[in-house]
């Protein structure tokens, strides 16, 4: 008894710093954003303390049409952001899953080397890396130089400032976040299970879908969640590589706060992103649990 009381004190003491930190710097601001999203924007920035639901009305279509105008473009951009995020998740998964298998089967020294390579991008600034992509993708960039030089195309391809460039950049940024959880799951896969499946008469394809995929699904779900969340709200990648056509909902929020100085509307957009991401995740996690694939 005395021991468990002491242990609970130790536990409290250990958890207190992170709880206080997140309470002040995460929950507090979140609450402020939630409140701001329901306030009237001030004429020169800032807020007026009046209850004001048109911030949401502008997005969902109940705007009054005088002061605030309903624009379907906001929902379109939101939908596009979700789509880009889903593409990013799938592309990163398709790239990481087989690679993770390959790396996990390497001798210990080489495994460590490749895991180090995966984390290498973290050592360089994201902005610098994205500008490198800009140099590679631009009309006079590396890819077009090679294609022109080889005579494959006659005029430079428009790669930069397209949705393709945005997804390409996001996949590039997100690969380590997908790779690490997927690798952990793949590395933990008990090869005896694969042998057991084959021993019991399953073909390679049956073994993959009935044993390997379900056994590593927790890592896939983990990687998908970690990649999906920041992808939806990402504004740096579309800012550098996307141009006007690649605008995502994160850029919209950024503009409202930094250019348009409409904090309440930016807050409302943030809350909408959060609600959408949370509901997508809830549905996703619930379905994968009822499918019985997450432990």
């Amino acid at each position: 008894m005395a021991r468990s009381v002491r242990q609970s004190w130790i536990l409290t003491a250990l958890l207190a710093p992170v709880t206080i930190y997140l309470g002040i710097f995460f929950l507090g601001p979140l609450l402020i954003i939630a409140v701001f999203s329901l306030l009237e924007p001030g004429l020169y920035g800032g807020v007026v303390w009046n209850f004001y639901h048109w911030n949401y009305g502008r997005v969902f279509g109940w705007a009054d049409g005088f002061i605030e105008v309903y624009e379907p473009i906001y929902l379109i951009i939101l939908g596009r952001s979700l789509m880009f995020a889903v593409f990013t998740v799938f592309a990163a998964l398709v790239l990481c899953y087989p690679t993770a298998f390959w790396v996990s089967r390497l001798p210990e020294r080489w495994r460590m080397f490749f895991l180090f390579l995966i984390t290498l991008p973290f050592f360089t600034s994201l902005i610098v890396r994205l500008y490198a992509w800009l140099l590679i993708l631009k009309p006079s960039g590396l890819i077009n130089q090679v294609l022109l030089g080889a005579g494959i195309v006659n005029t430079p391809l428009d790669i930069l400032y397209t949705p393709f460039a945005v997804v390409l950049g996001m996949v590039y940024v997100m690969i380590p976040f997908m790779f690490l959880p997927v690798f952990a799951a793949v590395d933990n896969l008990d090869m005896a299970l694969v042998e057991a499946s084959s021993d019991l008469g399953a073909s390679r394809i049956q073994t993959f879908f009935k044993v390997v995929l379900p056994q590593t699904f927790a890592g896939i779900v983990g990687g998908a969640v970690i990649v999906f969340i920041p992808s939806v709200g990402n504004f740096v990648v579309p800012d550098v590589l996307g141009g006007a056509k690649g605008l995502m909902v994160g850029n919209l929020v950024e503009q409202q706060f930094l250019s348009a100085r409409n904090w309440p509307f930016g807050s409302a957009l943030s809350m909408i992103i959060m609600a959408v991401v949370l509901s997508v995740l809830l549905v996703f996690l619930r379905r994968s649990r009822t499918a019985g694939v997450t432990p």
Partner: protein, 358 residues
């Protein structure tokens, strides 16, 4: 004996880190009958697991012949062989229920659901887990998991069941119970079992025949009694059971009995069939072959150590003639000698076994 599984000159080599080759299977010849319980016994690294994996199809033979029921299976992939395995770690699918684990072989073979359920229920009942179908493997005890692994491996009625040290993770009592159950299950199913173990007691308990292996080779194949009483060489004699080995020279053959002398001059009497005077050999006597006191053929010595084992006592007796101490086992009763006592040991010359080779 009908040959059912037939291995001829089976070879499997691995590359060593130094760039050389090491033979995990070095010319294995083995026949297993259709309803036989054969145990592969040997220390770790002797090739027994490699041999089992070669039969299941997870290892390819570099050379040799492997026939099962008249079909050449050497190049068949694992999933096409009519052979199932009980894995050492059980290898149960943790994301599936017990019933789905057990029915897996039928599921991948495309057996209809209703049919599958009936067979899963029957198989679970057979291993004593009738009501456990809806549980997850993680909710079972070690012994129950063992039974699930067994049920999963027998449901598709394989021609041959391979068991890779399946009892090693169980505690002693459960292990002994499972040994008996496995044997009766094998009688019941009427299929051949090949069982891998490094535990000689397990091998002696269950097997119709034991295959003793060392360094990728078969040292001896025989019934448990043959392996125990008539080991071919020093390795088998030492690996299976406690033993006393004596390097001797034969002399003085009279009335069908020869005298065998050790280098220290200790004398043993041996049945003289096929022995020439002057020949050297290694002879063995098991600790239980000796009696304290008694008449007949005797040795004298001093008790140097006593180990209490419950029903039995083990003694070390230093022979008066010198040489290595002799291991003797005896019942723990009033007549047992004390450490330091001068004793005589009697034995029957008929049980002294001469090894074929050293």
């Amino acid at each position: 004996m009908t040959q059912f599984l037939e291995l001829r000159n089976a070879r499997r080599e691995y590359d060593t880190p130094e760039g050389g080759k090491v033979a995990a299977l070095d010319g294995i010849n083995l026949d297993v009958g259709p309803n036989e319980f054969v145990t592969l016994l040997g220390p770790s690294g002797c090739g027994k697991t490699t041999l089992l994996r070669a039969i299941s199809g997870f290892e390819q033979l570099d050379d040799g012949k492997m026939m099962l029921d008249g079909v050449d299976i050497r190049n068949q992939p694992a999933h096409k062989r009519p052979v199932n395995t009980v894995f050492q770690s059980y290898a149960l699918f943790s994301h599936m229920s017990v019933a789905r684990n057990v029915g897996y072989a039928l599921e991948v073979a495309g057996v209809a659901k209703a049919d599958r359920k009936a067979r899963v229920d029957a198989t679970l009942a057979k291993v004593g887990l009738a009501d456990m179908g809806s549980r997850k493997p993680s909710q079972l005890s070690g012994g129950q998991r063992q039974r699930v692994a067994l049920a999963r491996a027998i449901i598709a009625q394989p021609k041959l069941l391979l068991l890779d040290e399946p009892l090693s993770a169980l505690d002693r009592n459960l292990r002994q119970q499972m040994q008996l159950e496995l044997k009766s299950l094998q009688d019941d199913l009427g299929i051949a079992f090949i069982f891998v173990t490094h535990d000689q007691e397990e091998a002696l308990t269950m097997s119709d025949r034991i295959v003793v292996m060392q360094k990728g080779r078969i040292e001896q194949i025989g019934t448990p009694r043959e392996i125990y009483r008539k080991p071919r060489n020093r390795f088998v004699a030492e690996f299976v059971g406690e033993t006393n080995l004596f390097d001797v020279t034969f002399a003085d053959i009279q009335n069908g009995v020869a005298t065998a002398k050790t280098a220290q001059g200790m004398q043993l009497l041996v049945q003289a069939e096929g022995i020439v005077s002057g020949q050297t050999a290694t002879v063995i006597l098991r600790p239980s072959d000796f009696r304290f006191g008694g008449t007949g053929k005797t040795l004298s010595g001093t008790v140097t150590r006593e180990v209490y084992l419950g029903s039995d006592l083990h003694y070390l007796v230093l022979p008066d003639a010198g040489g290595e101490e002799i291991k003797v086992s005896a019942r723990d009763d009033a007549g047992s000698p004390e450490v330091g006592a001068q004793v005589t040991l009697s034995y029957d010359p008929a049980v002294v076994h001469i090894l074929e080779s050293r």
